[in-house]
Amino acid sequence: MASLIFQIMVDSLLLGGVYTLMAVGLSLAFGVTRIINFAHGDVVMYGAYAAFFAFVGLNVDPLLSLVFVAVLGGIGGYLLFKLTLDRILDAASINQVLLTFGLGLVLQNVAVILWTGDERSTTPSYAFDSWFISDDVVVAKGRLIAFGLAIAFVVLLLAWLRWSELGRATRAVSQNRAAASLMGINVRAMYGLSFALSTAFGTATGAIMSFLLPITPFMGFPILVKAFAIIILGGLDSIVGTVIGAFFLATAETTIAYVVPQGIGWAEGVAFFLLVMVLIARPNGILGTVGRDA
């Protein structure tokens, strides 16, 4: 029993790292632009494919190609923002929802046409490795790496937001557009920057997912929905809240998967259940400041 509890804790912690990666980009972009990117899951999927082709074609380890993938993702995201979202920033939120939803569909189905629905994955040696802490407590090495990277990314992001000039400007825009604009900050440029950062995070997440999950054109949607649940749990515009939300969801899912009969199937629904519950009970999330009028 003790080892089961310990195993649940270990698994929750590791899964929480993966979930943090999925959600943090979405949260960053929302905090600044107040637009939810429904294509975020598909951005992650493109990152995974990029890492896959780098691994198979050039024999580059996903952890190395991650850097290039993130840079490319950031550039791609910036272009996407300039070409589409930038034009409808002042439109009603329904237009923004439909637009990003449509972008997601386009991205997904271009992938279906280019690469078919076949499952792929990168297979670096650490993907299958695991450590036994004791006789019956296992730590999957791939997840541990993902966990470490998630923590590193979040710390870097927080440091950037706190101490760099651009980071401060980003936070200012997130807190109050009008005031930030009066302080001489180019609000539109900050929108573009935060969106690019968010897609860079998304594609980097994809590179990491490439050795954790099967890569298919359809992997984006479940990731997107989980990321929604997490950022709503955490409070949408708070990075720390997002991390807490990620670990909360991971713990809930892992516990249900272990304890409830047929739990793995039901665990899939936990995110939806939590999402609806939070929206009803505490619409501002754990650490959020956004009212629900957006």
Partner: protein
């Protein structure tokens, strides 16, 4: 149009929907059935959008309608026309429930919670195989399935009724309250309208209409599983048709449904069922629709008329 003429038009359309299917070749009749189901969900989606409620959960209504048919047909051998009532009731209850639990959530947050609830329903349908047949799916009792002509009439008739409902709603005084809610619920509240009542009313009606789509689909295809019943594609087509035709209008979803279905037939002809192309086209319509013609085909037409309009109008004013 004055109201008697409108009533006559709708009555004629209802009668036509019972007569015309007898003379349609099978291919066309299949097309009409699918058009009618698409129109139902599109009208229902547009109705909610009109009040500022972005639904990403229409597959939830659809799936509930479809599953209630499967259960009732198999357990009680309920005929198709009767099964409509419990199915619509279930859709309506789910709509009211959704409006009730989402309380004052707006825009994005309402959209996300509808997406989450419909996905939750899919997981539930998957996890209670005793009731729903689980991942293996369930067949609708074959001997009581109506024939093709009856099915087409039934679908067409429902679509006409849905158009009528949305027309009369747009002419009623509620329309002003709903349209105002789209811009600002708090402002509406200050004017003495209770937005919660309208919100629940609209989602209830919309849920019932969308459930009809599921009912038709279940009887028509005779089989459903959680993946197909709660398919995100339903939600996607429900939002594309009104956007393409013209958001917040009565004719928009109708024209949009025609256009979308014609377009998907064309892509199917040219790309031979190959996966992805159809949805890619839908995605492109969403993106370019929002960017280039946010008021849809109806908007384009109105703008053209307006451009031609003033020239004709001036002489009348001079007189």
């Amino acid at each position: 149009m004055n109201s008697t003429r409108v009533w006559i038009v709708f009555a004629a359309a209802i009668i036509a929907s019972f007569v015309v299917p007898h003379f349609l070749p099978p291919g066309l009749s299949d097309w009409v059935t699918r058009l009618s189901t698409l129109m139902l969900v599109a009208i229902s989606w547009n109705m909610m959008a009109n009040a500022g409620l972005i639904s990403l959960g229409h597959s939830g209504f659809w799936g509930l309608g479809a599953y209630s048919v499967a259960l009732l047909a198999n357990a009680f051998h309920m005929p198709f026309w009767l099964s409509l009532i419990p199915a619509m009731l279930l859709g309506a209850i789910f709509g009211a429930f959704l409006a009730y639990i989402t309380g004052r959530l707006r825009g994005l947050f309402f959209a996300i919670s509808t997406l989450a609830t419909s996905e939750a329903l899919r997981v539930v349908a998957l996890m209670v195989p005793k009731l729903t047949g689980g991942a293996e799916g369930v067949f609708v009792f074959d001997q009581i399935r109506p024939d093709r002509v009856t099915m087409t009439s039934f679908a067409l008739c429902l679509a006409v009724v849905a158009v009528a409902i949305s027309y009369f709603l747009s002419r009623s005084r509620y329309q002003y309250a709903l349209r105002a809610m789209r811009d600002s619920e708090s402002a509406v509240q200050m004017l003495g309208v209770n937005p919660a009542r309208f919100r629940i009313g609209v989602t209830t009606l919309s849920g019932a209409i969308a459930a009809c789509g599921g009912v038709i689909s279940a009887w028509y295809t005779g089989y459903l599983d959680p993946g197909s019943a709660f398919d995100l594609k339903v939600t996607i087509s429900a939002q594309i048709a009104p956007l393409f035709g013209g958001l917040y209008t009565v004719t928009g979803p109708v024209i949009g449904s025609f256009a979308i279905l014609a377009l998907s037939e064309l892509t199917r002809l040219y790309f031979n069922y190959s996966g992805g192309v159809g949805l890619l086209v839908y995605g492109c319509i969403l993106v370019f629709g929002v960017l280039l013609m946010p008021s849809g085909l109806v908007g384009l037409w109105k703008r053209r008329r307006k451009r031609a309009g003033p020239v004709a109008a001036i002489p009348a004013e001079v007189k």
